[in-house]
Amino acid sequence: MIKFSSKVFLNAILTGSMILTLSACDLSPKQEYSINITNLTHAQPLSPPVAMLHKKDFSFWSIGNEASEALEIMAEGGDGSGLLALESRNPQYQGTAPLFPGESVEFTLDTRRDRLKNLSIAGMLINTNDAFSGVNGIELLDLEEGQSSVYYAYTYDAGTEFNSELNGTIPGPADGGEGFNAARDDVTSVVTYHGGIVSADDNFTDSTLSGANKFDNPALRIVITAH
């Protein structure tokens, strides 16, 4: 956190107001982004999605690195509030309901700061052990007013829970089992892409999942429009 002395801060306010009186231009215009997320899967509800505008050097996850506990909690149990708490003063959105297959949700985020123009979004595929989808630090700086960008999001494995598919290990409606568990027992302990689920319909009789829960890439469509 940068600390201003009160004197410098006062100067900054004065300068700002002086320029404002000299010019009708808005020095730091509010940039608003509308964000539309569509769940493209067959039967994988997405946990209430979370989104945040942030600096370039921040991320919710990174391929090849171990998941933070906040990411683990989201990927295993669907609660993304811990990810938002990592930068609680940033422009952010917390979904209020799961995003069901075939449905879309739209919300807006705004900022006056060019340094907060990277967008991340995350949500769990809740009929899995620790699969999630989203986007990781999309650069919005070059998106001009009235323009839209479309992204297709792949599915990640948090690397925190073995994809056992066993009864009692999956929080979504396909099982109603456990969400977050701090123990880490995956064969690969870093964040990667997801290999998909097997399911009982694919010769894994112990699986609590059915063929209906299978998914492929991409899992989400995300449309961002600058206003």
Partner: protein, 232 residues
């Protein structure tokens, strides 16, 4: 735009095209959750050259790479073509999630990039890139790569150490998550040309079943690798 500006642009473009060696900063990531890549091979070569092409039969060198991870044949082929080569930049097997970053300097004539490495465990699966036109304008470019099947070996999913070209079976699972004693998923290879890999089946029987692979661990979805090229 007036003609004069267009002409100036054409001239400057031609000038950039004639510039000599290109310096590339390459970053490559194994995106899979349960598969290693054997030593990677990167090469910049002329636009009419290929180490593999979809819907054609694999060369003997490509087959040796896809079935056993041996890139020496491909290196010999590419050296004869005066390609610019980076062999094994990750210094051995590349684990799930692992990235490698390195520089590749290309000669003027070598305008296209190809990549290959075996997916382990698989019978003859490989991650590949066939002759991508390397961007010449400064910037950072991201590409996602798919898994291919060389079409040279039956995908029986039996781990028996078989790594030599023409020898059935899978060399090993570096993750150590495989079973043993499988009877084999199939004994035919319908498409003997290079094609998109259909993925592996696996099972959860560690002492038998059809497959020595674990269906919960060794399956993958495309894309399986990320390539980032920074053109300076």
């Amino acid at each position: 735009m007036n003609k004069k500006i267009l002409l100036a642009m054409a001239l400057s473009a031609a000038f950039i095209g004639n510039a000599s060696a290109q310096e590339l900063n390459i970053s490559f990531t194994n995106l899979t959750h349960g598969n290693h890549f054997t030593p990677l091979l990167f090469s910049a070569h002329a636009d009419d050259q290929h180490i593999f092409e979809i819907n054609t039969a694999a060369s003997a060198s490509l087959q040796a790479m896809a079935e056993g991870g041996d890139i020496s044949g491909l290196i010999n082929d590419l050296t004869a073509l005066t390609a610019d080569i980076s062999a094994n930049p990750a210094a051995g097997l590349m684990a799930p999630g692992q990235s490698v970053n390195f520089e590749l300097t290309t000669q003027e004539i070598n305008t296209h990039l190809s990549i290959a490495a075996m997916i382990l465990p698989s019978n003859d699966g490989f991650v590949g890139l066939d002759s991508l036109s390397i961007p010449t304008e400064a910037g950072t470019y991201t590409y996602y790569l798919n898994g291919y099947d060389a079409g040279t070996e039956v995908n029986d999913e039996i781990i028996n150490g078989g790594a030599m070209p023409g020898v059935a079976g899978i060399p090993a699972d570096p993750l150590g998550q495989n079973g043993t004693g499988a009877s084999g998923v199939t004994n035919s290879e319908n498409n003997k040309n290079i094609h998109i890999h259909r993925g592996v089946l696996g099972d959860t029987d560690t002492t038998g079943g059809n497959s020595d692979l674990d269906s919960r661990v060794h399956r993958w979805l495309n894309p399986i690798a990320r390539l980032v090229i920074e053109v300076k």
